[in-house]
Amino acid sequence: MSKLIFEKHVPDSNPFTLPPLAIPAVKPDSIPQQFLREQKIALPEVSEVEAVRHFTELSTRAYGVDSGFYPLGSCTMKYNPKINEWAARLPGLAGLHPYQAEDTIQGALQIYYEMQEMLAEITGMDGFSLQPAAGAHGEMVGVMTIKAYHHNRQDYQRTKMMVPDSAHGTNPATANMVGFDVIEVKSNHRGLVDLDDLRAKMNDQVAGLMLTNPNTLGLFEEEIQEIAAIVHEGGGLLYYDGANLNGIIGIARPGDMGFDVLHVNLHKTFGTPHGAGGPGSGPVGVKSKLLDFLPKPVVIKKDDAYGFDYDMPLSIGKVKNFYGNFGVMVKAYVYIKALGAEGIKEICEHAVLNANYLRHQLRDDYNIPLDRLCKHEFVANSKKQADQNGISTMDIAKRLIDYGYHPPTVYFPLIVSEAIMIEPTETESKERLDDFVQAMRSIAREAAEEPELVINAPHNAAIRRVDEVTAARKPVVKWEAP
C-alpha cells in the first residue's frame, strides 16, 4: 500500500532554511493577538529526498499521453510538444508580474495580441478574449455575452437557451449558471439536429442555441447554415462549443457557418497539456456585434506598442483575475507558430483519417450505431458483447487498461446507450492504431469466449475496480491523523 505524505512524517526532517538576515527582530505586538493563529496546521515534515521519491512514485501510478495511446473522445488527447513547455518556463515569460507596466512586458503582450489575431483567423471570428481559464469557463463567458447582447437591446424576454440532447454536460450547466432555462433540442435518426424540432422550439423567448460541430457523435452538422438561419430569424444567437474543433480546423471555420460566439480549448485543439485536470485555457471569439461585451481588458496594438484596453463600458466585466492563463497561451502560441497554415490543416486531415480508419477496423467486432463518414471521433457501443454475455461498456474499458491503453470516453453521449466514444487524434501512428485494433479485437473475442476475464478486469493495474458507492455514501475526503 502506498503511503500518504502525511504517513511519512518524521519530526525535524525537513531541511528548508531561509538565508540569514541582518535586520532587527519584529516587535511582538506588530500583529495584534486577535489576528494570530492558535489552531495547529500539522503539515508533514519530510526530507527532500523522501519528498522527491514520494512524488516520483505517485507519477509512476499515473498515465499521460507520453505513456501511451489515450483515445478519450471529446478530450483530444494529442501529443504535447516539448518545445512548448520549454518556452512557457523562460524566465522572461514565467517571471512576469501581472501588474508590471505595459512597457516592461511588450514581448508578452505581443504573444497575447498575436494569439487573439491567429485564433480569429482560424475560427473566422472578429475578436477574441483570452481570459477564460477552461472550456466551461469560456462557455460561460460566451453565454454571458449573449445575455448582455439581448439586454443591451432592451430585450429581456429571452430567458431560454436551446441545447441539443447530444450536448456536453457543460452546455446545459453553463446556460443554467448564467440564468437561462434550458430547452433540449432532439437529434434525428441520423444523429444530427432535428430541424423540425428546432423550428418548433425557436421563438422570441429563446436567446440562442449552443451547438458543437462536429457534434458529440463525431458527425458534422451538414445543415449548419439552415440551423443558423432558423436561430437568427428567430432573433437568437448561435454559440459554438469548440471542444471538437480538431475535426474541422483548417478545413472549415465556425465564423463562416453562421456562429456568433464560440470558445476554443487550447488544451485540446492547440496541443497544450491537460495537466491531470487543468490548467486549460478557453479563449472566446465573437462576431463584431458582440465585441463590446467581451471581458476586459483585451490587448490592442497602437503605434507599434501593445497595451491593455480597459475602455469597454459594455463589457461583462471580468471572469478571472488578471488576463487569463498566460502560461498556457505561450504553449499554444508556439504550437500554432510551429505548424503554420499548412500544418494546421494537416492536423485536421490526419485526425479525421485516423478516426475513420479506426471506425472501419472496429466495425466487424463492435456495434457502431451511426456507421458513416465521421470527423475526428466516432461512437461505438457494447451492444454485441452485451447481447452475447452481458458484457458492459465499463467492462471493455477496464479490460483495455490491462492491454496498456487509457480507455475511451464511456457512457457519453447520452443519446447512445453504453457508448464508447473514440478519438484517436492526429498524433497516433498507424502502428499504434493497428495495435489498438488488435487489443479491441482480442477483448471482443474474450467477451465471447472468456467473459469472466473481461467482467473482472483490470487484472494488471495498480488496483482493481473501486467501491464508488461507499466513497459517495460515506465520504472520506481528507486524511485524518490516527
Binding site: 499521453v65 510538444p81 523562460l90
Partner: protein
Amino acid sequence: MKYNPNPPSVVKEMLHTIGLNSLDELFSDIKAEVKVPKGLNLPEGMGEMELRRRMKDLANRNVNTEDHPCFLGAGAYDHYIPAALEQLLLRSEFYTAYTPYQPEMSQGILQSIFEYQTMICKLTGMDVSNASMYDGGSALAEACNLACTSSKGRKKVIVSDTVHPEYLDILKAYSLSGSMEVVLVPGQEGSADIDAMIQTVDDQTACAVIQQPNFYGILEDAEALEKAVHENKGMFIMAVEPVSLALLKSPAEWGADIAVGEGQPLGNSLSLGGPYLGFFAARKALMRKIPGRIVGQTSDLDGKRAYVLTLQAREQHIRREKAGSNICSNEALCALAASMYLTFVGEKGLKDIASRCHRLALYAQQQLERAGMELKYKQPYFKEFAIKVDDPAAANRKLLENGIIGGYELNDALMLAFTEKRTKEEIDQLTTVLGGK
C-alpha cells in the same frame, strides 16, 4: 514542425483501407460554401531552432522578476519556488494526463489530489476542500453563488470594497446570472466598514464577504460581522492568502462557512497572472453542494486503500442543467505544485517564510519612514502596505530606471509587497530611490 507521425505513403495506405482516394474525400459532408477556400491566412510553420530564437527574443523584451527585485503584490506574489518542485512538475505522467476518471490507472494523481485537499483543510482549518478552482477571484464568485443557490431564495451578497477590485469585477460578472445581488459596502481608511456591513445584514442576506488580509494588505477584524451574519442565518465567506495562514487566524477560527483564496503563492510562478489556482474549502455541511471535483478515499475489490473522484452527483456531466456549477477542468497541475510546495517547505518553513515576509515589510516601513515617507493607512498589516507618494507612476518609473519592479499604483500611494525573496540590500535601495527626493 509537424507532430502527426504518418508519412504520405502510410496515409495513402490508410485511405485505401477505408476505400477513399484522397484526404479531401474525408470532408465530403461539409458543403463547399463553408469550407476555407484558399487555406488559412497564417504564416508558414517554423522549425524548432527558429522557434527557440523567436521565443527567447520575445522573452528578452520583458523585464522579469528573476533578474529584478519585485515589490509588486496585489494578489500575486514573488515567492521562492523550490528546485525539486520545478523538476517534479515535468514528470509527464502528471502533466500530460487527463482528469483521473479511470481510477485504476490514475491512483498517483488521485492520491496527490487527496493530499492537496488535506493540506488545504489543514491550512484553512475547514472540513472539506475541492480539487481546486480557476483562481482566487472565480473561487470567491462560486462561493457566493453557492451561498445564494443553497439558501432558498436569498440573493443578497454583502461585500466590502476593500476586497480585491478584480474579485469584485468577477463577482459582478457572475451575478449576471440573476442568482446574486451584490451589495458593495465602501470601506473606511483602507479597512472594511464592519458596522455598515452589519447594518446591511438582514433575512435576505445569503452571505457576507471579507478578504484577509484585504486588498491593501490590512488585517480586517471580522468577529462582529461573523456574528451578525450567522445570527441572520447567512453564511460568512472569507478570501484568504495561504502563506499568511501560517501566522494568521484561520478561516475556521474566524467562524467562516466557506474559505477561498488565490493559491499562486504556493509554488506557482507569476506567469503574467496565470495559470494559478483557486482553493475552495468549506464546512462539512456543505460537502454535497460545493462546486468542482472532489477525491475520496475508498477501497478496491481486494480491500486495498484506493482513491476515486467522488460525490459526482453534484457535477455537470451527471446533473447537466441542475448542476451547481459548470466547472470541469480546474487547475490540477497548479494544485499539485501547491501540495509539493507545502511538502518541500514544511510547516516550520512556511512559518519562517510568513514571519520573514512580515519582518521585511516592517523593516521597509521603518526605513521608508526614516526617509520621511508616510504610510497611507496605519492599521496592522501582514506583508504588504501602501506608502504615500505624490506621483506613483513617476515613482515606479524611477524605480525601474534603478532596476527595480516597483509597487501597485493607487491614486496617491504605492502598494509594496515583501516576500522572503527580498533582501535588506534591495529594501535599502528601494528606500534610497523612493526617499531620495
